[in-house]
Amino acid sequence: MSLTIEVVNQAADCTKMYLIGRLDTNTAQQLEGIIDKEVNEKTNMLTFDLANLEYISSAGLRVLFKTSKALKKHGGHFGLMHLQPQIQKVLDIVKALPAVPIFKNEHEMDEYLDAMQKKVIDGDE
């Protein structure tokens, strides 16, 4: 089993990645490489769609943490969606991502993004 990553650039600063398969010690570096290539300081929003992610280990979690941290540094946003029960369970155990917004579907994410947008605009005012 391996990991397949599909990258969709929804807007210039908004990227979505579909992770399909297993995110473990052997595939974590593969994801890291893609993120280094696709995500930069201009990225405002990065979302991982985990609908087809079967498995995640601590090595996979580490990549997610690292990415979240990198985005936050320049004010970007990071989100996860469509978590499968076994993935949810791992996340529950480590209680690692309380600050990461998790969306059940596209609609929730859009709402979240709108709110963020509004917050930014309000903040500017």
Binding site: Y55, S58, A59, L61, V90
Partner: protein
């Protein structure tokens, strides 16, 4: 050439001729040497008698001279002057005489003393000297010879003496006493020994012999032999350490004035010699002659050497002639020999020599010529036949290969996981045969579903090519139908249906078909006129159980439609099934005895096998021992199945190298373990996560990135939970003592390792760690309940 006829002929002829020649020559040598010896002896005796004559003649003449003078003195009594002149004249006439004396002694007749005188004439070189012996200084009356003469009745020779003062040489004197009335008168004549010696030496020179004269008293006068000069014969004999036996005879013979000869060993010559003796005329003297054998045999030897040389030359010439003749005679034979050698090497077109003569060799050559032609024709026929046979054989080989390819490619199954072993053996009686077998494991690679071993063994009627073609038809049909039907009876019924159609040749096949469920051991068997298999099971008391499964037999296939039925039974784990064709039970030995089923059972009981292939090899060696050199009459096929029963593996161990890539193997092993043991697959991801976290930790931190270390995982389960034990040889490290990860603070990089351990701790239902014998042992248990 060493063993050629010519050589042997020369050898034998030469040997025979040499033998004959040698025999003839030996006889010739013996005969000739006898003859020659005789002649030489006669010649030598002739020489001896010539010497005798010469010596006796000389002595006789001296005696005669003295006797004559004495007679004159007696009868006419001449005066002193007259006598002296007579003696002087006699001396001149007889050169052998050294000296002569006349002694007239008046003392014997005292009346006439004035007439006494002693006159002596002797030679001094060429002159005749005179001495008056009656002088004061000589005083003849005191001389031995005179004293001796006075005693004599008749004339006699003195022994040798040196006449000092008168003759002054060594001499022997012939004394002739004359007794007259007027007194004693004595006539003497001297023989100087040197004269005799010279004569003897002269005679010796002519012959290879030694000549001796002997005085009446036994003193020896020799020619050239100084050693015996003046020796006394009798004293020589007495002086010798070992007196020869002939010595006394010789003395006696000489005394009796006899002549003779004998052979003896002569010390002087150091060889065998011939001694001859004879009295010298009327004198008292004796002559002795000795001559050597060598001088006689030397001539014989020369003759023999000439003879031998002649013979050698003769034999050499003979060899040369025989060689030339046989060579010429055997030349055609040699040519014939060359030709036959060429035949032997296969050169049948070699030209034979022309038959030269109408003799045995000519006839032999003609026979060979006939043989050559016949052989050429025969070989041509043979080549054609061979070519044809080769073509048929080649076709049969191809047919055999095709037939082999119709059978399962591997003649055995050995699947440990399924606990099944199968071994098959097929030996056609001819190049191709009518026996067949087939087997197949259904779902062999599958993890689910029933796993069935199908097996078929069969025997087509008849054998050879026809049987082989029908066999091909049967096997093809079995492969086609076999996969579709589950019950062997259905297989037989459908197969029969196919074979009955278009079977004008009325070929048929006996067949046994079966299926064995590798999980349950359920056996289904159906037979179409084929012997049922033997069932072998080792009972707990170690007594093997061997019995033939009994079942109603349907008819052979290919004859008429029939609905077959299967026998169902369950066999014990670790049991054998043994099937065969009639090549086994109907095998015959040279006494035409059948092997029979009883022998099959006996052999199976005697040698309970430890594997299917051993069962086959045991049976083969038993049948080979039984048949011996007998030709196999029928095709022979054996099929043995050993079912151990499926082993339920409750544990599994996997060992990997300390590399992240090898984790995949552990993932696969975990997956297989759950499937094989029918455990909830929902637990898979959890088990994989735990395994990954622990092993990655060991690889990265425990072994610090060294990639050739090992990590083992022992997976097991019982009714309530799955246990995984991780074992490594890294430095002692207890993950459970690692501090809690800073939860909720994902950004903390340093907490990542701890995060994995935290995940493990949270997920497992029980964790434990121990460090034993240099090994880290980390055990995790997961409850099965969770997966449901």
């Amino acid at each position: 050439m060493k063993n050629s006829l010519t050589t042997r002929m020369i050898l034998w002829v030469t040997m025979s001729v040499t033998a004959i020649f040698t025999a003839i020559s030996s006889y010739d040598y013996w005969f000739t040497s006898n003859l020659l010896n005789l002649q030489l002896r006669q010649l030598a005796e002739l020489e001896v008698s010539a010497s005798e004559t010469k010596a006796s003649d000389m002595l006789d003449r001296l005696q005669h001279q003295a006797d004559l003078t004495a007679a004159l003195v007696t009868q006419i009594s001449p005066s002193q002057n007259k006598l002296e002149s007579m003696i002087a004249t006699a001396m001149q006439q007889n050169e052998a005489a050294y000296g002569m004396a006349i002694v007239v002694d008046p003392n014997t007749t005292p009346k006439t003393d004035h007439t006494s005188y002693a006159s002596y004439f002797f030679r001094n070189e060429e002159n005749l000297n005179f001495v008056n012996l009656a002088n004061e200084s000589y005083n003849f009356r005191q001389k031995d010879w005179y004293l001796q003469a006075q005693q004599l009745e008749s004339p006699q020779w003195t022994e040798p003496y040196f006449d000092e003062g008168a003759g002054d040489v060594l001499m022997s004197t012939y004394l002739v006493p004359v007794k007259r009335v007027d007194g004693f008168t004595l006539i003497t004549i001297d023989l100087a020994l040197s004269t005799l010696q010279k004569m003897l030496a002269n005679m010796e020179d002519k012959q290879d012999m030694s000549i001796y004269a002997m005085t009446p008293g036994g003193h020896i006068i020799s020619g050239n032999d100084e050693s015996l000069m003046l020796q006394q014969l009798y004293e020589i004999g007495m002086r010798a350490k070992n007196t020869p036996p002939w010595f006394h005879t010789l003395i006696e013979e000489i005394k009796n004035r006899k002549s003779g000869s004998f052979s003896t060993y002569c010390q002087k010559m150091q060889e065998d010699c011939w001694i001859s003796y004879a009295p010298l005329g009327d004198t008292q003297w004796t002559m002795l002659v000795s001559y050597s054998h060598t001088s006689l045999t030397a001539q014989l030897n020369t003759y023999s050497i000439h003879r031998a040389l002649q013979m050698a030359l003769g034999i050499m010439l003979l060899i040369l002639f025989i060689w030339a003749i046989t060579r010429r005679q055997f030349l055609p034979l040699k040519e014939l020999d060359k030709a036959t050698q060429a035949f032997a090497k296969g050169k049948l077109d070699y030209t034979l020599p022309a038959a030269p003569r109408n003799d045995e060799i000519g006839s032999l050559t003609q026979s060979f010529s006939h043989m050559q032609v016949s052989l050429q024709e025969h070989i041509k026929e043979l080549q054609q036949e061979t070519k044809q046979r080769e073509r048929i054989n080649s076709e049969l080989r191809t047919a055999n290969e095709i037939q082999q390819s119709l059978l399962p490619s591997d003649n055995e199954i050995n699947n440990k996981a399924l606990g099944i072993q199968l071994s098959a053996y097929l030996q056609p009686a001819r190049a191709v045969g009518g026996d067949l077998y087939y087997y197949h494991i259904q779902n062999e690679q599958q993890l689910h579903g029933p796993q069935l071993l199908r097996f078929v063994i069969g025997d087509v009627s008849d054998k050879g090519v026809a049987a082989a073609i029908f066999m091909a038809r049967v096997v093809t049909a079995i492969r086609a139908i076999g996969e579709q039907v589950a019950d062997p009876a259905d297989l037989l019924t459908q197969l029969n249906h196919q074979l009955v159609e278009d079977n004008d040749a009325c070929m048929f096949v006996t067949l046994l078909a079966g299926t064995l469920d590798l999980h349950s051991g359920e056996l289904k068997i159906a037979s179409a006129g084929h012997p049922m298999p033997f069932y072998l099971h080792e009972k707990s008391n170690k007594m093997p159980l061997v019995k033939q499964i009994t079942q109603f037999n349907g008819p052979a296939l290919g004859l008429y439609g029939y609905q077959f039925e299967s026998l169902k039974m369950t066999i014990e784990p670790n049991s054998y099934l043994f099937t065969y064709t009639d090549g086994l039970d109907e095998a015959t030995n040279i006494h035409s005895e059948l092997y029979g089923e009883d022998n099959i059972i006996k052999n199976l009981k005697a040698n309970f096998p430890s594997s299917a292939s051993e069962l086959i090899s045991n049976t083969l060696s038993a049948i080979n021992q039984f048949t011996g050199d007998a030709e196999p009459a029928d095709d022979l096929t054996l099929l043995a199945i050993h079912w151990e029963g499926v082993k339920k593996v409750h544990t599994r161990e996997i060992t990997i190298k300390s590399r992240q890539e090898e984790l995949e193997q552990v993932n696969t092993a975990l997956n297989e373990f759950l499937v094989e043991h029918h455990l909830p697959e929902s637990l898979l991801l959890e088990l994989q996560l735990i395994a990954e976290e622990i092993m990655v930790n060991t690889i990265n931190y425990g072994y610090a990135g060294r990639v050739d270390e090992t990590i083992s995982v022992l997976i097991s389960h019982n009714k309530s939970h799955i246990t995984m034990t991780f074992v490594d040889q890294a430095k002692a490290f207890n993950p459970l003592e690692l501090g809690e990860a800073r939860l909720g603070m994902p950004e903390a990089e340093g907490a990542v390792g701890g995060l994995g351990v935290h995940l493990v701790k949270e997920m497992c239902d029980a964790c434990s760690y121990e460090y034993v014998a240099g090994e880290n042992r980390f055990t995790v248990k997961i409850l099965l309940e969770k997966g449901k």
